[in-house]
Symmetry: D2
Subunit: 356 residues, 4 copies
């Protein structure tokens, strides 16, 4: 059984990662890749790693084949998904949106942070939030509706929210947090996170041998993290750029309630996290004393999590590593699509990074 799928915005970094994964997917058949800028060019001419392995050619975003697909992956900037999703859904195509357009439940929050009107807020009520390990019910419901013949919309979580929330959620869920305190998230991303656009920041000679913070106190993933964790106005999020291609590490500092800080050990925290993620193939909670390397997950859909309890200062420190393009974007979208289409969650998704 093969489903027809397409990637819109396939020449961007998240889009081309979706293309890579879908070309090897056992159940999805990639029939179209669109890019207005690269339309007419072959896949291999734009990304030479595909030389000899695919004859696909980029088409424009209005390629009529999209409406004939079972699923379309939208790897486009925000507002572009607002423009594309309603029509596809109406045509019976399920939409897996990698953009931010349908992530925030409250359109007013979207408008405040993205500074643009939300043109299809009616879709928010039924869209599934695409972070399978934390929103399994959303995806089960979407799968049921899809099995009943409906087209469904999945708003896939962003890269920083994914790593951060997978690292923070079990602790918040366990009630370990000090009341009223703020979670401090300092995260580091590779340069693919800044996108394919060639500019002063992404020039090799700017990014190489440099780390810097950006978007401090105003990055748009902040309200998304707050929404997932249920902590409005209590997340301080500072992203950083580091000189690597792929990889995202989120260091999450969770203030512990006094009673928890006095008794919780790192080993117990590890145990609790492992129980929480029992049966989830992509999340691996490391032994107490170990912290993940981003290189251990690059190219894979895995998330590795390390924990340490700081009793002195009453803090749980969590570091959570993903590949920003895979588990943080294209891999997660395909994972969601696997669930929605009733496939094994792992179909077509690499579990293992290059060892070196």
């Amino acid at each position: 059984m093969a489903y027809k799928v397409a990637v819109v915005g396939a020449a961007g970094y998240a889009g081309i990662e979706a293309v890579r994964l879908l070309l090897d997917h056992p159940a999805f058949n990639l029939v179209a890749i669109t890019s207005n800028a690269d339309a007419g060019q072959s896949l291999a001419s734009v990304y030479p790693s595909f030389a000899g392995v695919s004859d696909l050619t980029f088409t424009t975003h209005d390629d009529p084949v999209l409406a004939t697909c079972d699923a379309v992956f939208l790897a486009v900037p925000h507002t572009a998904a607002l423009a594309a999703a309603p029509g596809l859904l109406a045509a019976g195509v399920s939409v897996f949106d990698l953009s931010a357009d349908y992530r925030l439940s409250d359109p007013a929050v979207y408008e405040a942070w993205y500074n643009t009107p939300h043109t299809s807020p009616e879709l928010l009520a039924t869209r599934a939030f695409g972070l399978p390990e934390l929103f399994a019910d959303d995806l089960s419901a979407a799968a049921a509706r899809h099995a009943a013949g409906e087209s469904v919309l999945v708003a896939c979580a962003g890269c920083y929210p994914t790593a951060t929330s997978l690292g923070a959620f079990p602790a918040v869920n366990a009630g370990w947090m000090a009341a009223g305190a703020a979670v401090v998230v300092d995260a580091i991303s590779g340069v693919t996170g800044a996108g394919k656009s060639a500019n002063a920041r992404t020039h090799y000679c700017s990014a190489d041998e440099n780390v810097e913070a950006y978007g401090v106190c105003k990055h748009r993933h902040t309200p998304e993290i707050e929404q997932i964790l249920g902590l409005p106005d209590r997340v301080v999020f500072t992203p950083h750029l580091a000189p690597l291609k792929r990889g995202l590490l989120s260091t999450v500092n969770i203030p512990l309630a006094e009673g928890v800080a006095q008794t919780l050990t790192t080993e117990e925290a590890v145990e609790r996290y492992r129980a929480f993620y029992q049966g989830r193939p992509f999340v691996r909670v490391l032994d107490a004393g170990q912290m993940p390397k981003t290189s251990s997950v690059a190219g894979s859909n895995a998330c590795q999590i390390g924990l340490a309890v700081n009793a002195r200062a009453r803090m749980l420190v969590v570091t959570s590593a993903i590949d920003n393009l895979c588990k943080g974007a294209a891999g997660q979208a395909i994972q969601c699509a696997n669930v929605v289409f009733g496939l094994d969650e792992r179909s077509g998704l690499p579990l293992t990074a290059l060892p070196v």
Copy 2:
């Protein structure tokens, strides 16, 4: 049908690449990984990218399970294969040797360049040379002997010789070279090529932001390239170290005979090369005017080749890119094993690098 296989020297960079590939191989079942230094440790504790995906534990090189395997991959330094291969072969195990020990046909050349006696020269007469695109007959003969129940020895080509020879052979074979002239090979390798040993050269702060030549006029891959191309004392080979993990680019300068230089176009050279590599899934000859990037083949078993004719100075310039750990080591060994065991040459071998 699953064959039992093992990797000796599995904790080194070529060894762990073999482990990565064999864990996903459809016909080879990896039953043992050996490393004297890491014996007793789990695969995931030494290479955390395997966390949660394999329960293998390193054993010592004298693990008795080796003698029960169908094939053993030797990812060991030179002389260690001399020690291990005869016993395995006698036990009926086919050996795919990634070291240099059985590559040179003449044991005197081996002894001159490696400064150590060759202790099993009798094996050289029947060993196959493991570079499938150029020594197809060797491997066919080995496959026939294997099918007849014999254990076989394959001496897999080295990383620099593989990239260089794939880039040079069709031109030499076509008779384009000026008589008596020397081929100049300047090649660049990533740091995995220097091995897993932590030393002054492989320290991040030495290798980062630096390129340098090494082993100038005395690198041991020189006689191997000369043997493959049939050009004794006519190869000048200078390897360089560059700040990347994986990837090898060989720039090969082939002096053209006067008549050839006056008439051969780059387009014709491309056409000839494409005809030569017709039907070989891993070699891709790029269009005239294009040169390969090492990042286009990293992590895959592909080799990409670009060509340019310099009529003014009577030179064919070829650049040839491989992943030194995959097509230059573990991938090639598995490709050879696929042929010997009668499998599809591509089994378990990635054709495509990460697009970014």
Copy 3:
């Protein structure tokens, strides 16, 4: 007027940076460089960037010339300075110690974090703390004693404490912090911070394309930061390793008192910081909205600081960038020596990084 100086531990990364700076210093004359491991080798043979510019040769740590110097810079691991400093001071040599041995005022804290006895606690009462922008009085007093003919001991601040404290101190000093809250410090260092020792962590193929946290909740710079800021048990410090040679970025999250959070603007915070650092040549507080790049200070003794007030979550976010080997080690030690010897604070210290 030239003073005789020496560097003990000159072949390590902080030591060789001291050598670089001292070779160009207008008032200090470098007469000895010691390294037990490299004794007898020329400076240029160990660090080829010095080829043709210096005839110095490494000697052993017991080189008798040390006792004839005006000042000795100790660029040694902890405990080695405990062994060396008392004798040098007794011989009338002023000591600028880059190690941690005399930084912590309370020897019990030293013994708890470094797990070794403090063998000369009597020196702690009079040692100056070497962070000129925050401990000017300490260094003035040392300069006065030195002018009176005494030898003095300066315990130079560590790399993470320097960047972190320069970023946090003015806010703490202003009384902006919420009572009882913890400061969260997530810092990123280049690989020179891990030292010259070649090991699995510093291997190029481990550090490249990777970020990871290390020493979580137990890094020994934690009590040093707490001491400088006067915040015992209220600093959560997580260092990270990133793939660059030099550079350290400390992201400091300072919880604001409720009244402060409601009124303080980023512009006002910048103004306050600029007033605090008025007249200090190496500290530059950036305009509101700007955050520093580590590449802007690499190779120089500068510290660049960026500020952002997060009113929603009541947090001041500060990022502070230094070169870990210069302002974080050798440059700072020379800055301290300049003050002690009555020279211009800037003598021999680069103000500017390479622009690209």
Copy 4:
């Protein structure tokens, strides 16, 4: 005595390197930096490493102050120097041109390789070629004319020609080459060599973890190398891009005459080179058996050269390392200006790279 100088094209990578060096120069007073794209912006806002150390602001290329300078450095693309130089010279300003416009002695060669007319060929007869170690007479003559009150034009050598020619010239000059043979030059440059323009090639995610050849058989530095060495149509030049910011390594393969190859030792070659460069402060010929690292010269005006004789294949292999922005561009231009203005050749020029 301070001379007024300016940099035209100061925001590009070669230009900003000139600015860095001139701000610390003891005899040149930098009064203007021009950039049409950045006019009106402060130096520090475009290159934040200059924060707090200079108040210069970019002006446009037609800044009238240029005509009042003693010297102007043109760090502009080719053809822009053709437009600017004649007017400056007529105004009595000496011009140090970092572009290619006046390097080639024969305007027909310029027109053939640059595909544009040469609009001031009359200047070629008297321009000095700016490569002080090889064209000392040119610069002496220019210095004499300058001392006599004339404005002079110096066409500074390009980056690849500088490294390559410093590596090859003594051998060619010694008559060691085989008659009629071609010199094969494979060179590697850091990404600053590709310029400040943000494009697909200079994007971090394209350049990182990649090496590739470019401009094969058609790079415009080819005729410049041939002119310097006096070897028309006998240079095969292939440049490569590697993932580092600064640094250029040229590997030069010089075919030896049969008699030379049989007798010349590497030690003798080193001796000859050292005699040739006797008294030149920036060129360092390494001991036999050593090859230079680009990191040993990055940020400095030094050139390090290593040699190896390959008797088997009758080849002298030379590797020559420079910083492409310093000795390969801005540093060399200032070195030329030092000579022309009668200053010490080393004025304002760093001899030493960062040791790590």
